[in-house]
Symmetry: none
Subunit: 218 residues, 2 copies
DNA sequence: GGCCTTGTACCCTAATCAGGGGACAGCGCC
DNA sequence: GGCGCTGTCCCCTGATTAGGGTACAAGGCC
C-alpha cells in the first residue's frame, strides 16, 4: 500500500496560498528540495483550476484553508473528485475543530498548522503522505481523536465489559449467532446478554438498540 | 488548553514494553533526557498496576499494544478511568486498523509504530502530547482518517425517494410493521422495500443494513 | 410498442429475534 | 453467610425478519 518514500523523479507539488510571503517561503524551500518540483504555485483556488487545465496533475497539493474567493475547504470535495490520485494537505493558522472535521471527512490526507510547522516539517509532511501516511499536526490530531471517543454518555458504567463487547458486535451488524461464534459463546448466552441490554437501555427491539447506539456513542 | 511544552520539572513517564531490548533502549534514551524521568519501567500491565500503587502517577504512559497477560489494548479503558489526567501513547509493530480504532475510541492520546519511529521521534511524540496535542505515526493517522470519510456511499443516487424514506425509519429503530403504519402502507409492501434495500446495499440482514447506515451517511 | 424502474401488494417457508422462564458458579459487599 | 451482579448455559412460545416467488399500474427511455 505505501508508495515509495523516495521516488526517483521529483514529485510535482501544487501550492495554493494567498499570503505572498508565505507562498514564496514555501516555494523557495520546497522547490529547492531534490524530491520536489513545483509546477503550480498560485494564490487562489480559481487560479488552481486554471493551472490544472494546462499543467500535469500534481501528486500533492498544499492547500490553504481560508482563501479569498472559494476557500480551500470548499474546493476540497471537488478537488478530491477530479483528482482522486492526488493527496491534499490543508494548511491553516487555526486548529478549529469544525474545519478539521469537515476537511477530514472530505478526504484530506493532511492538516497542518502554519505557525507550528517548520519548513523541514512541511517537507516531512509531504514525504509522509507520499509514503501512504497522513500528516496531522499534533494539535490537529488531538482534535481529530475527540471524534473517536464516545460522547460522554450514561451507558458505559452501566454496561459491563462483556455486555459492551456484545453491543459493539451487534452495532457492527452481526447477528446473535455470529456474535456467539465470534466470542466463542453459546447463542443462548448471547441472547441472554441481548435481553439484558434491552432491559438496561430501555429498548424493545434490535432496531431501537442500534438506533440508540448510533445516536448515543458509536 | 495546551499544557506548557517546557515544564520546569522533569515529567514522569511510565514505559510498558515486554521486549527487554526495546525497553532498555527506550529507558536509556528517554530517561537521559532532561525533560523526563522514568519512575516506572515494566514489562507487563500487571506489573504496571503494582507500580502504580507505590509510585507517583506518571504524566505519560508508553504502552505496548500486545503484551503477555493483559494486553495494552485491554488495559487502556481501565487505565483511562483510573488515571484520567495521564496521557497514554500506544506503541506497536503493526498499524492494524481495528486496533487503532479501538485504541482511539478508548482514549489513547498517541499511537506510534515502533519500527517507524526513531528515538528522537519518540521524544517528540511525548512532547507533543504534553503540549496538548496527539502523536500519531503517519501510517496510523492515515488509517484513522478513513473513519472520517463517509463510506464510499453510492446510495443517495441509487435509492429512490421512497426507499430512502423507508430506510430512514428503519434507522430510527422502527419495525417493518411500524414503518408500514407510519407510511400508510401494507406491511408486505414495506417488506418488499426492505428486500430491495438489501439487494441494492448488498447486505443480508437488518443488522448489516443499520450498520451501513450508521457509518455510511445518516 | 417493448423494456426498465418504481410503487404497491400478496403468498410461502425457514431462520432469527423477543421475551418469558430457570439454572449455577464466582465475586464483592455488608 | 446471605444478596446482588455478572457470566455462562438451557428451555419454551410467538412475533418478526429473511429471502424466494408473483402481480400489476405508472412513468421514463429508446
Amino acid at each position: 500500500m505505501p508508495v515509495s518514500a523516495h521516488p526517483i523523479f521529483p514529485v510535482a507539488l501544487a501550492i495554493v496560498e494567498d499570503d505572498a510571503r508565505v507562498r514564496e517561503l514555501l516555494r523557495e524551500y520546497l522547490c529547492h528540495q531534490p524530491e520536489f518540483s513545483c509546477p503550480i504555485v498560485v494564490g487562489s483556488v480559481e487560479e488552481l483550476w486554471e493551472e490544472l487545465e494546462l499543467s500535469l496533475v500534481p501528486r500533492v497539493i498544499l492547500l490553504d484553508v481560508s482563501l479569498p474567493g472559494q476557500t480551500g475547504l470548499q474546493a476540497l470535495p471537488e478537488l478530491r473528485k477530479r483528482l482522486p490520485g492526488t493527496d491534499v494537505i490543508l494548511q491553516t493558522m487555526h486548529d478549529d475543530p469544525d474545519r478539521i472535521y469537515q476537511a477530514l471527512r472530505a478526504g484530506a490526507t493532511g492538516y497542518v498548522i502554519k505557525n507550528a510547522t517548520s519548513l523541514p516539517q512541511y517537507k516531512q509532511a509531504i514525504l509522509d503522505v507520499l509514503a501512504g501516511g497522513a500528516a496531522l499536526s499534533p494539535s490537529v490530531a488531538r482534535k481529530a481523536l475527540l471524534h473517536f471517543q464516545p460522547a460522554p454518555s450514561q451507558q458505559p458504567e452501566l454496561l459491563s465489559a462483556r455486555e459492551q463487547e456484545v453491543m459493539q458486535l451487534l452495532v457492527d451488524g452481526l447477528s446473535e449467532k455470529q456474535v456467539a461464534a465470534r466470542l466463542t459463546l453459546s447463542p443462548e448466552t448471547v441472547h441472554t446478554y441481548v435481553k439484558r441490554l434491552y432491559g438496561k437501555l430501555q429498548v424493545r427491539s434490535r432496531g431501537e438498540l442500534l438506533a440508540r447506539a448510533a445516536k448515543g456513542d458509536l
